[in-house]
């Protein structure tokens, strides 16, 4: 299996960050951040614009020197061994620069050259990448004619020709159809299974759900770290209720002014309401709404989503100025 060969030798892959700090003048973009990833882990990196995500990733890729603290990527120090770091990582983004006017195999050859893959190894690795990406038989297709999901897999193939130990993915599957997306994540999980550390930064919670562990940044600091389930179950304050009622507008206004309601917002045809205690709210809410002329058709507790976690842990604070235009 091509993937097995691609991931061989990546077992020592890891990222270790200790009290990492980056200041631009008086602005602290990254504020004493510490975390570590294990080989074979799919590590999601979340946060609003301006939270310090991109700065951290640039440091980890050896493109930016930290002001203080330490980061070790694939066994190399980003401050003193930036070149070695760059040789041992792969990078792929949503706006990955594949050459549309080149054939599939020509793109792969180009990236093999860019990453200085030894000539003797290049053709074999390109064949493996083609097999892994499910592009066999399409080697000579023009890249421009590939569907979105195929391009995505080709971009992934290009980013692993030099056998990186740590792979950085930036919103890798945004806009890709769900079937191709699932195939792509299967590939990522398989690579991780062989010891490659996969570092995913994204704004999309459905991509975050594919990660083993998530780090959430806000205003330069790490504000949460855990598996998707841990974040959803242990970090959230309150419980979420779905309420179907008429008229919706009145209900929203009434609930937003009730001190026992932490948050109330329209969601599709109903309301999502966050309360301290779901059971208690189930008892008083319908009657309370009725007093205000709102008929409550349905009220049920629903599981919190990662987006709820994200908003609760970062919401509001990003608007207090200092927001960068990144």
């Amino acid at each position: 299996m091509a993937v097995q060969e691609i991931i061989a030798g990546a077992a020592a892959a890891s990222v270790r960050v200790e009290s990492l700090e980056k200041r631009f003048g008086r602005f602290t973009a990254v504020d004493r951040v510490s975390f570590a990833t294990e080989p074979g882990e799919i590590f999601g990196f979340l946060g609003p614009n301006g939270a310090g995500k991109s700065t951290t990733i640039r440091i980890l890729c050896g493109l930016l020197r930290p002001t203080a603290g330490k980061a070790v990527v694939a066994g190399f120090d980003v401050a003193t061994q930036a070149e070695e770091v760059r040789q041992n990582i792969g990078y792929m983004s949503q706006k990955f620069s594949l050459y549309n006017t080149l054939q599939v195999v020509e793109n792969l050859r180009f990236f093999a050259g860019m990453y200085s893959v030894p000539r003797a190894l290049a053709e074999a690795r390109i064949r493996e990448a083609v097999a892994m990406a499910g592009l066999a038989g399409h080697e000579h297709d023009l890249t421009a004619t590939l569907a979105g999901g195929w391009k995505q897999r080709l971009a992934l193939g290009c980013s692993i020709l030099h056998r990186p130990k740590v792979l950085f993915l930036d919103e890798p599957t945004s806009g890709v159809d769900p079937i191709s997306r699932r195939q792509f994540w299967d590939l990522i999980h398989e690579m991780a299974g062989g010891g490659v550390t996969v570092f995913v930064s994204t704004h999309y919670m459905d991509e975050a759900e594919y990660c083993n562990r998530l780090a959430l940044m806000n205003r330069g600091a790490l504000v949460a770290l855990g598996t998707p389930n841990e974040l959803k179950r242990h970090l959230m304050k309150g419980a979420l209720l779905l309420i179907k009622c008429e008229p919706l507008g009145t209900a929203l206004e009434v609930l937003q002014h009730n001190p026992a309601v932490m948050e109330a917002a329209v969601f599709g045809e109903g309301l999502h309401v966050t309360v301290q205690d779901a059971t208690a709210a189930g008892a008083w809410l319908p009657g309370y709404l009725a007093e205000h002329g709102v008929e409550c058709m349905r009220l049920q507790p629903i599981p919190l989503s990662l987006e709820d976690v994200f908003v609760q842990l970062t919401g509001g604070r990003i608007h207090q100025g200092g927001e960068s235009a990144s």
Binding site: I42, G44, G47, P48, N49, G50, A147, G148, S174, G175, V176, D177, P178, I179, S180, R182, W185, D186, H189, G193, H203, Y204, M205, D206, A208, E209, Y210, C211, N212, R213, L214, T227, P228, N229, G249, A265, V266, F267, G268, E269, I302, P303, E307, F310, V311, T314, G315, I318, H319, G321, E323, S324, A325, S326
Partner: protein
């Protein structure tokens, strides 16, 4: 007449080809007044082409569409006067401030000076941008630019709002605020068509068409769509998801096994039965798991089931 039936938008048999390849392929749907209607699907599904046709800036090769009571082919100028269209790249002037951008659009649409100040203030308040009125648009974050674009698009009180992927690249907090502004417009009976490639956003629409390759797979409310999901979904939480997948793939009644971050997501024909069987199989194989429980199917599950079902 579209207005009479309560439909604000009616599209019938729309076809648009580029170099012979259909981008929109026999697409029909209608949108009632005061709805937030989603055109939801991956890149290449025909979302932008459909928006352009509805906005009267591109004519279809076949089919008809009426928007706010006007035919998009025969009377595109009338359509443009009654709608607001926010394309993916909305024309904000980066070297103008937030306020100046809004004033510019108010002038462009001929909004009376008396009305505009109060309206603009209200829009910016709703967008939580009141404190940034003097900031240059070029210095706003992605999410704030989109909210400013929306405020500009709303400055002339349009009856119909067409938003082409307004939340792409926007972080979840700004995205939520953006949607709250949209919901607040429903009180004014504005009709909104919004496109998105993010299937989780589908659940925010009051009704939606799930698009794929220029066609509408399904069209209904999120709740009724999910009720059409063939089978059920189970979530297995396990520290060894890969082993779980290996063991359960191909088992009877399990049609889809997807690895997620801390477990495996299953599509099954019969939830209670397959749940019990999965527990037995994993226990027998000595694969640890914390929990196996029925989960709510997502629009993505429905999309996958439907596209795979069609072969």
């Amino acid at each position: 007449m579209a207005e009479a039936s309560g439909d604000s938008i009616k599209a019938e048999g729309l076809v648009k080809r580029f170099a012979g390849v259909p981008a929109v392929d026999d697409l029909s749907f209608s949108v009632r007044r005061g709805e937030i209607f989603g055109l939801v699907g991956p890149d290449g599904a025909g979302k932008t082409t459909t928006m352009r046709i509805l906005a009267g800036v591109m004519s279809p090769d076949a089919g008809t569409a009426s928007v706010a009571g006007f035919d998009v082919v025969r009377d595109p100028e009338a359509v443009k006067n009654h709608i607001s269209y926010m394309p993916q790249r909305f024309g904000l002037y980066e070297d103008l401030t937030v306020d100046e951008n809004i004033r510019f659009y108010a002038d462009l649409f001929g909004v009376a000076a008396r009305d505009r100040e109060e309206h603009a203030a209200r829009l910016l308040e709703a967008a939580r941008m009141a404190e940034f009125r003097q900031r240059l648009a070029g210095n706003l974050s992605g999410g704030m630019k989109q909210k400013l674009g929306l405020a500009c698009a709303l400055v002339h009180h349009p009856q119909v709002l067409l938003l082409d992927e307004p939340t792409t690249g926007v972080d979840p907090v700004s995205r939520r605020e953006f949607w709250q502004i949209l919901y607040s417009l429903l009180a004014e009976n504005v009709t909104i068509v919004i496109s998105t490639a993010y299937l989780d956003e589908a659940e925010r629409c009051t009704r939606l068409a799930l698009l794929f390759k220029g066609r509408s797979l399904l069209c209904d409310t999120p709740e009724r769509l999910k009720a059409q999901m063939p089978g059920a979904t189970l979530m297995v939480v396990s520290p060894q998801p890969r082993e779980v997948r290996e063991r359960l793939s191909g088992a009877e009644g399990i049609s889809n096994v997807v690895l997620v971050g801390d477990g495996v997501h299953l599509v099954v024909d019969d939830a209670p039965r397959r749940c019990a069987e999965a527990k037995q199989m994993l226990t027998a194989a000595g694969i640890p798991f914390d929990e196996i429980a029925e989960s709510e199917p997502s629009i993505e599950d429905l999309f996958v089931a439907y596209v795979q079902g069609q072969g």
